[in-house]
Subunit: 364 residues, 2 copies
DNA sequence: TTGAAAGCGCTAACAC
DNA sequence: GTGTTAGCGCTTTCAA
């Protein structure tokens, strides 16, 4: 298990996490009044250089750091400096990317990020909305789990919703989503038209989440347009589950055929099934997929994929929510950003023998 | 680009983000005094049921939510309820995992998570330390970027450092690291002893970070023990760079040989190079690697790998930092947790024909 | 140029 | 049971 080893060379009572110094302490230490010190700290005018220097000396000696709570409580408008972010799961590469991008914006704006992870639970989401309101966050960015507490919340705090739509909220908050349906339709159509496939299978997961549901809708649309019969295996939550579903469907299809998958997990499931059947990509199976975080290509042939433009989405979201903070009464907007579609090796557009990565051959 | 579409059906001034209600507002609304209301809100005794009910009615009608800043400022010990977390980069799966696990602990403890991302920059790290101190976080968990401001910080706030050691800090803060060196040695030794390889190559990235450096040290140790000559390509920051390096080294080695890689990126680089040379895994090239976040297996043959036990590390870290908050003067401890070593298909221990995933065959 | 007092929104200590 | 007062650490009046 885990092994402890005390590394301290000096034992005994060394510190006590002394209570942070306050303005009064600085006043006592420097001999100036509280207000003068406050002036120095806030770079206000009408302080002599000598005073300023002496006060700063005390500041350093006592290691003074202002208490943000007290300051923000009193300061005009009582702005907290907090921005809240709620994502469903940080292990999902897309949400991690999102959090990363959000942090950059937030810190660049001199704000501090409060992070909540909802685990796709409406209860946890509602809990965080409550906590965030207690903390008087100035704005919220959220990939919603579906709690209806969000409606009330958005009436009190500038809110922008990312990645997913939420029914009944379109007229209440700003949204930034990707054109999931159109991109899915484009990918599927590409398999059909550009590669002349008459059979295109879809491997899909849950359909409770709007963005994923839209991708499924896009697939159906493309198939309908082409007058083709949809072939779908869906509702898969785990990878092995999806793989089994894909395998079963693929057996019934004669090569060549296409596969559209709604996300990276579904993509790996599809590829795994294809491999198990001994098919060759893209000759026998042409694949196209959605990818949340763009980490797909490193581990296999460069996929033909639609990627969500995280940076763009976050930038737009910030713009929207900032504008809403300034103009609370403007009509809510829904911004749809376009996915980056990359035509890679798995559909046959890019030559597999070209610079692309990785076909691990295994065997004895 | 992006298309805006105003979706609001009702234009015009609908809301104004009204200033949140305060206790005074509740007092006015309900006719009770501020203190009585405070009592109700804090579930204190000596309040009649009737009063309680009436106050709660006002609370709901006004949508009252207590201001955490004011409350925490006044409340005993002025505890903030904040826990700070600093990670270098959320796009790295291991750190995302870590953040996920930390959030669970923090929220379970009823605390709120302040997130900082350092981008491996000591300046950004120092900035966050400052911000966190202003916000009076109760404890800090950090994967350090190397700022020496951390030393002073750890004297003021209970701090635990995760994943990496930092020179000069061992006697100041608690650490939770993995046995990187030993696991690297074990993996390398395994390739040498169990699979009878006389040549084992290492593909490695940067060596500024202690955990990664330790892995390299483990490799050298195993090679020395076996009386073998190290063969190393390192200092690679990008994947293509690492791949080129691996390719060059592999050309000069006669199969069969082993490859030890220090992380998932280096692993893919090695696999890519192996594929490019037309070798078969594990017959010609036996591979073993470190993996931060356990997402390696889904995309290829199950690798022989050492995985960092994120949940364990976070649990231990929480324990350490909590204990330190209670007993500030105890000697700092360094806890080393063991990596989970999985013997998979890439070294030959597990049969490639068994249930393992994915060999994407590409071709026309 | 500086300082004393009031008050941000809340809870703690003591009245009634 | 309920209300009044003080004060958390800070900024903002206003006076000196």
């Amino acid at each position: 298990m885990a092994s402890d080893e005390g590394t301290g060379s000096d034992g005994g009572a060394r510190r006590r996490f002394s209570r942070p110094a306050r303005l009064v302490d600085l006043a006592e230490h420097s001999g100036y009044s509280i207000k003068t010190i406050s002036r120095v700290l806030n770079n206000e005018p009408y302080v002599s250089e000598r005073t300023r220097a002496e006060v700063m000396k005390s500041v350093h000696e006592l290691g003074y750091v202002a208490d943000h709570r007290a300051r923000s409580l009193r300061t005009t408008g009582s702005r907290s400096g907090y921005v809240g972010l709620i994502v469903p799961d940080m292990r999902n590469g897309f949400f991690a990317d999102l959090a990363n991008a959000v942090e950059k914006r937030v810190s660049a704006a001199g704000q501090t990020l409060l992070l909540g992870i909802s685990d796709e639970s409406t209860a946890k989401e509602a809990k965080y909305l409550d906590v965030f309101r207690q903390n008087r966050i100035e704005m919220l960015m959220a990939v919603p789990a579906g709690s209806d507490a969000l409606t009330r919340f958005s009436e009190q705090v500038p809110t922008v919703v990312l990645d997913r739509m939420q029914p009944g909220l379109e007229d209440a908050v700003d949204f930034v989503t990707a054109n999931n349906r159109e991109s899915a339709r484009a990918l599927t159509s590409h398999l059909i038209r550009a590669h002349g496939l008459e059979r295109v299978l879809m491997v899909a997961g849950e359909k409770e989440i709007s963005s994923v549901r839209e991708r499924q809708a896009g697939y159906y649309e493309a198939m309908r347009e082409a007058g083709l019969q949809p072939a779908v295996t869906d509702q898969h939550l785990t990878l092995p589950d999806a793989e089994a579903g894909a395998l079963e469907m693929m057996r019934s299809l004669a090569a060549p055929f296409g596969v559209f998958s709604t996300g990276s997990r579904m993509y790996w499931a599809a590829m795994s099934a294809a491999a198990r059947l001994g098919t060759v990509v893209p000759r026998d199976v042409a694949a196209a997929t959605f990818d949340g975080s763009g980490s797909l290509g490193v581990a296999g042939p460069l996929p033909t994929q639609a990627q969500l433009p995280v940076a763009t989405m976050v930038a737009r979201a910030f713009q929207l929510v900032t504008e809403r903070a300034l103009e609370p009464d403007r009509a809510p907007r829904t911004v749809t950003v376009e996915c980056d579609i990359e035509y890679g090796m798995t559909c046959g557009c890019m030559d597999p023998s070209s610079a692309g990565p990785l076909v691990i051959r295994t065997g004895r």
